[in-house]
């Protein structure tokens, strides 16, 4: 039988539920009935098509057999009703909590605040977890729920749509999932270190919990009540990190060589780390403020020596550059190049003492962009802020 059940997912479960629905029959008669129907159900599961479509739910199957066999009808509602309420509470509480873990992890982007979603679920998750771990709710209290069965049937038919090769491949990935989720949590931890210490701590707890539970959950299925939300957290975090990473080019925080430019300015699709202005007389304008066409300040986060000087005048340009002189951090706003007077030397590079050849309207060179390759666009070319 074991070989059969491995080939046909759901067979074991189906037979167990038929058995449970007929449990009131005399033991001898029940054994006889099972001897008939086990080979039959096994065979039907091996045939093409959905076995549940053909046989009905295990409970329907048992009811039909009971009626045709002239067995006494079940008295009152099925025995599970005793824990029905609890089972339903646990089912929805854990489902909701898993969803909260998923959403919080997905939305966190390294910040602690979204974890409040998880906090909001604690009043239902706590009691539900207690009911499960204390043995007040059993597996059948959940599996007998109509919503569980409906969900499982939908899941099963979704799996049935996959090619057998795809299922086998996904199965083979299962051991890797144990490692992959730790990697996801490690990345999230690193991201959180900078922006959300609370999240960093929480991530460590989840990682520790998963490691601790990994071996135990195989022998104690009740622990699924913990691993389910934890895994939802990992999946949410993974999706959030992937989407966060692909957002980088579209206005997410951008790391460039000269430091952090959040919100970001780009020119020709290339992130800018600074903007300089030169007056008609060819002299640098030491302080100016940038606005977009609606009058909204074009604010940019920038590196500073103290790491806190980010709140005021973030649309004041040129942005201070962080330089290190003899190991001491200094903020400088002077130009790292000598500008040509507007309309003067067009695009021929000027040798200067401070830095690099320049082009009117160009940007300061970065390490990744050699000076000789600087942009040769006209001085009037727009600098597009991206938010």
């Amino acid at each position: 039988m074991n070989g059969e059940t491995e080939i046909h997912p759901g067979l074991d479960d189906y037979l167990a539920r038929v058995r449970a629905a007929l449990a009131d029959l005399p033991a001898e008669e029940l054994a006889e009935v099972l001897e008939d129907i086990e080979p039959h159900v096994t065979e039907v599961f091996g045939e093409p098509g959905d076995p549940v479509d053909r046989l009905g739910s295990p409970e329907d199957y048992a009811a039909e057999l009971r009626a045709a066999g002239g067995y006494p009808p079940v008295e009152g509602p099925p025995p599970v009703s005793e824990h029905h309420g609890r089972g339903r509470f646990v089912f929805w509480a854990i489902g909701l909590t898993a969803l909260a873990f998923f959403l919080a992890a997905f939305a966190t982007r390294g910040r602690t605040e979204p974890l409040i979603l998880i906090l909001l679920c604690l009043p239902v998750y706590g009691p539900a977890l207690w009911l499960v771990l204390a043995g007040r709710v059993n597996r059948t209290d959940l599996t007998e729920l109509p919503e569980y069965r409906r969900g499982k049937r939908m899941g099963d038919s979704a799996v049935a749509l996959l090619q057998p090769e795809a299922i086998a491949y996904l199965r083979s990935l299962r051991p890797a999932w144990g490692l992959a989720r730790l990697i996801v949590l490690a990345v999230l931890f690193l991201v959180a270190l900078d922006r959300g210490p609370g999240l960093a701590v929480f991530t460590l707890i989840v990682a520790g919990g998963l490691v601790w539970l990994a071996g135990r959950v195989k022998t104690n299925r009740r622990l699924l009540a913990i691993t389910l939300p934890a895994n939802a957290f990992v999946i949410g975090a993974a999706l959030g990190l992937v989407i966060g990473a692909t957002d980088l080019g579209r206005g997410g925080p951008v790391y460039v060589n000269q430091g952090y430019v959040g919100g970001g300015l780009t020119y020709g699709g290339r992130p800018l780390s600074n903007v300089y202005a030169v007056g008609a007389d060819g002299r640098p304008i030491e302080e100016f403020y940038l606005y977009d066409e609606t009058g909204t300040p074009i604010t940019v986060d920038y590196d500073s020596c103290t790491r806190i000087d980010r709140s005021t005048f973030r649309n004041r340009f040129p942005l201070p550059r962080v330089t290190y002189v003899n190991g001491a951090c200094e903020m400088r706003t002077d130009m790292p190049f000598v500008p040509l007077p507007p309309g003067g030397g067009s695009s021929s590079p000027t040798v200067s003492t401070t830095a690099s050849p320049t082009v009117s309207g160009s940007v300061p060179p970065t390490a990744s962009t050699p000076p000789s390759a600087s942009v040769t666009a006209p001085p009037t070319a727009p600098v597009t802020p991206t938010k």
Binding site: M1, E4, E29, E32, V33, E35, D36, I37, E38, P39, H40, T42, E43, V44, R54, L55, G56, D60, Y61, A62, E64, L65, R66, A67, A68, G69, G70, Y71
Partner: protein, 108 residues
């Protein structure tokens, strides 16, 4: 028309009939019924009926081990079963004839 209600009344007779010449296990019986045109007969109904006829003493059963899968339990008619089949068959023919007459009378 949904014939499942009609089927219920005659399933005993049909099961006894398909076992008349050859013993069979549950799925055998089911296939013979479906092959004979009883497409709508439910899987579980056949198994329930077999068990009820067995308990009523109409059937014998024996287990045949199988190399390929789980062993199979065969059912066959005993003397009591054969007598019941003859009896039921007569009753059915009489009943069907009566109903036929009623239907013809109603149509005329």
């Amino acid at each position: 028309m949904d014939t499942s209600q009609l089927l219920k009344g005659v399933l005993d007779l049909a099961v006894l009939a398909v076992l008349r010449n050859e013993d069979g296990y549950g799925y055998d019986v089911l296939r013979r019924l479906r092959g004979g045109g009883m497409e709508e007969v439910g899987d579980a109904s056949v198994y329930g009926t077999l068990r009820r006829l067995y308990r009523a003493g109409c059937l014998t059963s024996y287990v045949v081990p199988s190399d390929e899968g789980p062993h199979r339990k065969y059912y066959g008619l005993n003397e009591s079963g054969r007598a019941r089949l003859v009896e039921s068959e007569d009753a059915w023919r009489a009943f069907a004839g009566t109903l036929d007459d009623i239907l013809k009378g109603a149509a005329a």
